[in-house]
Every structure is written in structure tokens, then in C-alpha cells.
Point group: C2
Chain length 561, copies 2
């Protein structure tokens, strides 16, 4: 081939998706010219590690640098231009305008394929005082450097936003010895979870001395006379602090794409197809800047997660090479992005929170009401082996065919493992019957002969088979059903659902006649197992019975009096 | 219904499968009479915990008792007769003969359905001295009590058999301060794994002071004058010890079934269908005593694992009730046992070993040669987060369509998690492309933006797409290929494959001309990544190249000089 036919792939943004795309493109094509531009001072850095760098869990800044421009050059023959901002895209002429931020010089660069991996930017609402030096965001290494420096002399911090990043920040700041207040607009922390699952985390945060201000937003940041800040909230709170960190989310950094006339979605995200191609046939986009369809709800929206960004980068590379007519790539079947299923994990104060698929909230928001849910609290491993820790698990599924819709889990150990297994099943279009019959690792220190995933599947499968009718905790207030608590008298005496009657499982068969036949009975116990045993007996005697899933351990996470 | 129609379900064996079957049968049918007979003194005990009870990790014996006869009676209305041996089954008359071991009294009991959960018994080969009091097996609580007592005054132990139970015993005996020698007939420990994967575990055992005698069997146990034992091996070793523990496997306890004329397999296992029904329409069998088809190889054999036993118990209950004409159960679609996929895990000295699906060995034994394999050594979590531990992973798959065949992993952290995810994918009929695109939990302390499971899938998928030709370490001796090591000069100087030439990745593009065009080049690096980068460049320049998968970390596990 003549050198004039050497194709140019330009990539805007060198973190996660952009870096993955560049190196994958090189592996597919030795002949192409591949150039990365990034406006920041680093390429391919570990942005997920930033909270831990602030917390000094990761001690050295160089740990966060996954790759350098030299490595890209020497290993991949890829040119990386740092502190170069791409200021304009001209899709008709297929050129970009690049500004060298160090010199201010501008130049034009022509492309055959352009990949936008411009990421997302932290949301900074236009509040009074938002630009004060004590108000931080955490997106880049320089951001984290500033916060680390501020933390050195600080005693108090306010974290604004109770999502996963907010939680990680709170943990790391407490780890550094600061008194932390967390302000969250929603009435719960971790709005990405269903409210009752977030309760376990909120309790742990409060045990660890984090002050939670839920259901309120910041109304102003005010400079305090002593050099600190005063953070005022919508509920009239005024918190004296040394620094504030915003973690209220990000929005797609799509200005460049918008100006280029690319099709954007409602939230400003770039619209791409399953090959990561934008509305322009010569432009692809990956990572936090694009929208992706949720494989459960079908909702298309930006989901800022590193895993999908990396996979999208690889897929885009393959599509780019096909687009450029690379004969090897055209021979292959194209790679497709399957969509997002929202698998995420977060650690905070010894707890792990993880989720995959849709939450109940997300299902309802998408207008999907044909779902069912079960709660369970199995140990992470066999109860007879020392130090078993409960995993609080919620499983959502389709009640007719048992198709998996989502799962959320909170606990101290092996939580990510169970969510990963369910994530794999969900990706494969699996059902609760697949979880029921899963053959998973078991030795006493690793799991149970019935793994938590099996148990979740068994309970849900029992429901789908019609053997385990479910009542909803939300329907408890004002129900005409009789709540029957099948625990022991001692357990009942300690705490019970108001209005419940106590009929221990061991006496149930003899005392059947005491239960009404014309009224529903809702059975409850500690975690759900004994209630299920009782329910099976009562159902076969013709009583109208349902289970309050998850027992008293779930009851206390619902605000149903 | 008249009381004369009350059906009788008798269950022989009250551990795992039998207990699961009994309680499930009760949940499905309140009216049946359900009776469990067990010849031992306990019902439903935690046999997987016995090594840890010997090791005093589990301190109290009562921890091992999952349930008692009283609990079965009070919660489930199930009668449990302990120390009752079922001595005879008469399938024609549908009666069993039961002997009360405490009184010697015999009686007959009639059944409508009989479930055999007689388990397996430890193999005790007819060796000289096998019945000496110092020679133990570990299957029951009384066994473990005897070993615990012997350990109190012992300094040395010999463990015969290097399978998972043998390893757990070795660990627990070292934990109790004993000097342990482990004798294994195979030339490797953990014969359930492929040899090269067992190397990591053998090294760890030796580091911990366990003496390994591989490729030899015990020829005799001889009483020593001082009260101890001398264990003599086929290789002429004579080991002085205070006690010996046999862990050389189990065989189905199927004498009762054989005498009843039930169809048995080659290894003495009871042949059952997918509903756990035996060759007699009124007899079912579950657990270690039955044979199950391997879902990958199709080989039908007994697999003594607690998870499948429990699930088989549930399935048998549902089939029994259908067999008895229970109207509710007949309305339901029947539950089917899907077969065994051999998921197993074992901990030893801080390492976790886990596997699912077929090993290479098992594939070859089943005559399946159409497979491919990759090795990798990813960290359990992001390398930039402190204390990342490598996971040594081997993935087996079909080279044409990428269908998953099996996986084995060894490492210090999060090993079971990755095998569980692959187990789920394999159960669902998944491919390497499904692993490649899996959306799994990622935060720096939990995984990577590319999880080890993703990386395994990506490497294998690259092979299936034709982008990553693989050479086999086994073919290294005598190959005419040139081994090209793309690591740095320093790394090469430390250790390299004999005959390899060094051409660092960073110089590869400039020094292409030095490589032969008429001879295969096999690329190697530290773990496989740089070799892959080099391979892609060389392939596109028309060279004949392959990868030695897993790099030098895998090289040292192969005995290929």
C-alpha cells in the first residue's frame, strides 16, 4: 500500500475507553497511525483509585499512573499528546482543531476515524460559594492532590452526595481522622440502591461517626472568618467545616460532540449504536460520554463505569478498523456492545455493597410493574465454620417465568462474589431456576452446600412454582391480613410486628384451628425460613397464607411501623 | 382421604441428600408419613467440617450438628431413627428390614417410596496393618473424635492421599503442630487438577514444611515398638509416625442397592435418571451413592459433593411426590437434575484452589481432543491498590465456537469468586465471548476494570477469532520453532527458556528483519501480555507466530526443561 493510504485514527481522551481503544486498534492494525490527545497531564490513570489516594491507602501518586506516553510510544507505536485540548471537530472536512495548553498554539489534524472518549465532568451546581477554594471535586490526579493537601490540616469535612463516590470519600476522610458530615438530597444514601437495602449502610456509617443529613441539599457555601467554610442546607442546617467535597454525580463531557452536530440524548450523552458509532459514520464514542441501553429496563442513559468503558473501547477499535476497510477486520464478525446491566460495587467501613441489573426503583421508573422480589440473609459461608457473616440480599425476578431482573447485596464478606455470579446469570438471560440449580464452590470456609445464590434461587423458584405466595412489607400498614409470627415466644417478646400473633412453628400443626380460614395470614419469622416451613403446612390445610419475605431482619429496614 | 391412603416415604441415610429430601418432601406434602433411618448416631451433620474439627478451627463438636431428631420431629413432623441400619430392601413387597443397632432388634417397615441416601464409604485398601488402631479414616463425627484424641499426644502424622480431603487434613494437622508427610500415588498432588496447576499448591505445602512423597503408594503400616507406626511406601520409604490418616477416596455405599437388584454402574454407583429415580419405580437415590452425568464430558460417575447431594435431595422429593400421585406435584412441571459440572474448592495454607467443568485430563480421558487452553495470572484486584494477589488461572474452551469447557484457579484471594462466575457461565452453555463481555463488580479493592474473568475471556476469544495462535508448552522439547522472549534484557538474564532469543517488545518493530520468515516463532514473556502485543505486530508482518500462553509464570509449572 502507498503511504498516502495510511489511515489516521485520532482519539480524544486517553483514560479507560480511549486508551483501550487505541491499544486494541494497534493490535488489529500495525499500519494505521494512532494518536491520542488528552487535555490533562496524564494518560490512562486510575481514576477509581483517587478516593484511596486521598485516604492515603494508596500512598504514592505514581501508583495511579497505569501507563505513560513513552510506554504507548515504545510498546504500541501510539503517539500521546498530553495537555492538548481538542477544541473543535469538523466532520465535513474530517479535521479536528487541537490546542497545546502549554503554548496556546492551535493546529488542525486530519482524521480517517475519530474516537471521542471525553468522559464526564463533575456536576457543580450554581450555588453561592461553589467556587470557594475549600469546595472540591474529585475527578483528576491534580484534584486529589489538592484534597490531600487540604486534608493535612483539616479536622472536619462535608461530603455532598451519598452515592458510591461520596461513600468512598467519607470512608477515606474518616480514615484520615476527619469528622465527616454527609449531605444527600434523597431520603436515603446510595440512591442507586433500593431504600431498604441502603439502611444497612446508613447504620454502619452512623456507627462509624459519620453524620448523615438525608433529604436535604446544600443551599450555600460560605467563607468562615477563621478560614474554614460554613455549609448551609435546604433544611436549615449550618455545618462548620474545613473543606467540602462534591460527589453529586457527573454529566457527559459532550460539548465537542454537540458542536460537531453529533446526535445527543436527553442527558447530553452521545448517541451511539451497538458498534459504538455515532450519528457520523467517521466518528465513534466510548465511555462516560455515551449513552448505553440497560439490558433489563431498556432505558438508554450514560452510566459512568470503568468496566463498560474499557470494553466499549475494544469494540470501537474493531468497528473503526472495519469502517476503515481493514481486510482482516472485515473478515471477522463484528463485536457488539451488549448494553449495560449496572453491575457495581462499593466498599465502606468494612461493608461491601454490590448490585447488578435493575433495582425495584429502576423497574418502576421504567414502567415495569410485573416483577416480584425476595429478601434473604444467608451467611457468607457455612454457619458451623467460625466467623460467618450475613449477606443481606434482595433478588428481583419476573414472577411468570422467573427471568432474573436484578440483585442487590450488602455484607461484610463475599458480597461481590454472589453479585458477580448473579450478574453472569442475568447477562446470559438466566432465571431463578438457573440460580437454584447452580453448582458453585463449596467448602465450609467458602460457602454453603446451598450457596446464598442457590438459596435466593430456591426461594424465588418456589414462588414462581406457586409454592410460596409473597406479601409485601409496604402493604403491612392498613392490611386486613393477620400477621402470624412463627418464632419462639422469647424471640417474639423481644421485638415483633405490631398486631402480630405468636404461633411458634413447633406448635403450628396442633394449633391450626386457631387461625382464621376467611382471612389472609401473613407469616413472619427471623429471616424467612421458618415462615416458609409454616406456610407450606398451612397452605396444604387450605389456609390463605403469604410470606413476609426476609423476616424481622428485613422488617426493620422498612419504615412501616 | 382415608388414613389407609396415607403414603409412607422411607429414607435411608439422614445426611445432606437424605435430609434435604425429607424436609422438601414434607414441604410438598403434609399428609405423607416420612421416616429417616441412619445407622450413625447423628442426623444431618456437617461432614465437610470434620477436618476443621480435627484442626480445632471448629472448636465445639455441637457446631457440626446441623439438626437433631427433635428438630425434625417438631418442625417437620419427620421421624428420625438413629443407630438404625437398613439391612435389606425387598422391592417386590416394598418393605425394608431395619436393625436397631442398640438392641439388635430387627423389624420390617413397608414403604410407598424409598429413598436411598446411603452415601459413600472411605476406601481402605487391604494393606498389611490397615486395621491398626493408629490408621484412621475421616467420615463421621466419631472418626474425627478419635483423630482429635490421637492428635493430642502426637508429633507426627502421615496423610495418605493428596486430594482435597488429604490437603485439608494436612493443613489442620500442621495447624495442630504436627510434622506431616503426605503420600500420593499420582505424580502430583490434587489429582483432580491438571498437573501444572497443582504445582503452585505443592510448592506452598513444601514451604509450610509438609513433606510430599509423590508417585508412591503405601505398601504397609507396621506397628513400631515405641507405640507409633512405621509407614512403608512402594518407593522404599519408611516413615515413622504417630498416626496415619487415609484420604484416598470413597466408593458408593451401594451394597443395599445391589442386593435389592437395583441397576449399578461400573464403580458400584446406583444408576438414576434425571429425576433421581433408580431402575425400580418405587426407589429413588441421591448423593454420593449415585452416578451423575458430567455436563461437559458426558461421563457418568459418582461425584461425592455436598452441593449436588442437597439439590438431588430436593429433586428426588418432587419426583417421589409425583410418583405417589400427589395432585399438587403432578400439576407442576417436574424438577430435573442437570448433571454435575465438578465445581469444587479447597483451602490449604492460605491458598484457595478451585475448579469447575472439565480438566484437560478429564477431556482427554473422555476422548475429547477438540479443546484449547489459555493460562493467565491476573491480580485479584487492581494492581494499584495495595496487596493485590495473583490468581493463576487455566481456561479450557472449544476452539471453533468458544464454548466453555472448564477452568481451574489457584491463588490467595478471590479465587472461588472467579470460578463461581465461570461455573455459572458454563452451566448456562456460555462461551469465551460471554466471559469477555461480562459486566462484573469493579472497584479497586474488589477487581479490575477488566476482571480476571474478562481477561480470560478476552485471551480465549482472541484465539477463537484467529488473532492469537497458541503453541503448547508440552511441545517445547524438540520443537523446530524459535522461542522469542520479548521481555527486557534484565528479565531475560534472570531466567529464560533454554534456546530462546531475547528481543524486547520495545525493539520488536525495528528488529523484525532479524526474525526468520520460514520458521515458526513462539513468543514468550512474563505472563503473556507483552508476547501478545508482539505477536499482533509480527502476524501483521506475515511472520508465523504463536504464543506460549501464561509466560514464564506458566513455564516453570511445566517440566519441559
Amino acid at each position: 500500500m502507498a503511504s498516502s493510504t495510511r489511515k489516521r485514527i485520532l482519539i480524544v481522551g486517553g483514560v479507560a475507553g480511549g486508551a483501550s481503544c487505541a491499544t486494541r486498534a494497534r493490535r488489529l492494525c500495525e499500519r494505521c497511525e494512532i494518536v491520542i490527545y488528552d487535555k490533562g497531564p496524564y494518560v490512562s490513570f486510575a481514576n477509581c483509585g483517587l478516593p484511596y489516594y486521598v485516604g492515603n491507602v494508596i500512598k504514592a501518586e505514581e501508583k495511579l499512573l497505569i501507563a505513560t506516553p513513552e510506554l504507548f510510544r515504545d510498546r504500541f507505536n501510539i503517539a500521546v499528546h498530553l495537555e492538548h485540548e481538542v477544541t473543535h471537530v469538523d466532520p465535513l472536512r474530517r479535521v479536528i482543531e487541537v490546542r497545546d495548553l502549554r503554548t496556546g498554539a492551535r493546529r488542525e489534524e486530519a482524521y480517517d476515524a475519530l474516537v471521542l472518549s471525553t468522559g464526564a465532568q463533575a456536576i457543580r451546581p450554581p450555588l453561592p460559594g461553589i467556587d470557594l477554594p475549600g469546595v472540591h471535586v474529585l475527578r483528576t490526579i491534580p484534584d486529589s492532590r489538592k484534597i490531600r493537601a487540604a486534608v493535612e490540616s483539616a479536622q472536619r469535612a462535608v461530603v455532598v452526595g451519598g452515592g458510591m463516590i461520596g461513600l468512598e470519600m467519607a470512608e477515606n476522610l474518616v480514615h484520615r481522622g476527619l469528622q465527616v458530615t454527609l449531605v444527600e438530597l434523597a431520603p436515603q444514601i446510595l440512591p442507586v440502591l433500593d431504600a431498604e437495602m441502603a439502611v444497612y449502610v446508613a447504620e454502619r456509617l452512623e456507627q462509624q461517626g459519620v453524620r448523615l443529613l438525608l433529604g436535604q441539599s446544600v443551599s450555600a457555601f460560605i467563607e468562615a472568618p477563621n478560614g474554614g467554610l460554613r455549609v448551609e442546607t435546604s433544611a436549615g442546617e449550618a455545618i462548620a467545616t474545613d473543606l467540602a467535597i462534591l460527589g453529586i454525580g457527573v454529566r457527559p463531557a459532550s460539548t465537542l460532540a454537540a458542536e460537531a452536530g453529533l446526535r445527543l440524548g436527553e442527558r447530553g450523552e452521545i448517541v451511539v449504536d451497538e458498534f459504538m458509532q455515532t450519528s457520523d459514520a467517521h466518528i465513534w464514542a466510548v465511555g462516560d460520554v455515551v449513552g448505553s441501553p440497560d439490558i433489563v429496563t431498556g432505558v438508554n442513559q450514560p452510566v459512568p463505569l470503568a468496566g463498560p468503558a474499557n470494553r466499549q473501547g475494544r469494540i470501537a477499535a474493531s468497528s473503526v478498523l472495519r469502517g476503515l476497510g481493514d481486510p482482516d477486520c472485515l473478515k471477522r464478525s463484528p463485536m457488539r456492545f451488549r448494553g449495560i446491566q449496572g453491575t457495581a460495587v462499593c466498599g465502606a467501613f468494612g461493608l461491601t455493597v454490590a448490585a447488578t441489573g435493575a433495582t425495584e426503583k429502576a423497574l418502576l421508573a421504567a414502567g415495569q410493574t410485573d416483577y416480584q422480589k425476595v429478601y434473604l440473609h444467608p451467611g457468607n459461608h457455612a454457619s458451623y465454620f467460625p466467623d460467618a457473616k450475613p449477606i443481606h440480599l434482595k433478588l428481583l425476578f419476573a414472577p411468570t417465568d422467573g427471568r432474573l431482573l436484578g440483585a442487590q447485596a450488602v455484607g461484610e464478606a463475599d458480597v461481590a462474589r454472589r453479585i458477580d455470579v448473579i450478574a453472569m446469570a442475568l447477562q446470559m438471560g438466566g432465571t431463578v431456576f438457573d440460580l437454584e440449580e447452580a453448582e458453585l464452590c463449596y467448602a465450609p470456609q467458602y460457602g454453603g452446600a446451598k450457596d446464598p445464590v442457590n438459596i435466593a434461587g430456591m426461594i424465588a423458584a418456589n414462588h414462581v412454582r406457586g409454592d410460596l405466595p409473597l406479601a409485601r412489607w409496604e402493604d403491612l400498614p392498613g392490611t386486613s391480613a393477620l400477621v402470624v409470627d412463627v418464632r419462639s415466644r422469647d424471640e417474639f417478646a423481644q421485638e415483633h410486628v405490631p398486631g402480630a400473633v405468636n404461633l411458634p412453628l413447633e406448635e403450628l400443626r396442633e394449633r391450626l384451628v386457631e387461625l382464621p380460614r376467611d382471612r389472609e395470614c401473613w407469616l413472619v419469622c427471623g429471616v424467612g425460613q421458618r415462615a416458609y416451613f409454616g406456610l407450606r403446612a398451612l397452605m396444604q390445610h387450605g389456609l390463605k397464607v403469604k410470606i413476609l419475605s426476609g423476616g424481622m431482619k428485613t422488617y426493620r429496614t422498612f419504615d412501616v411501623g
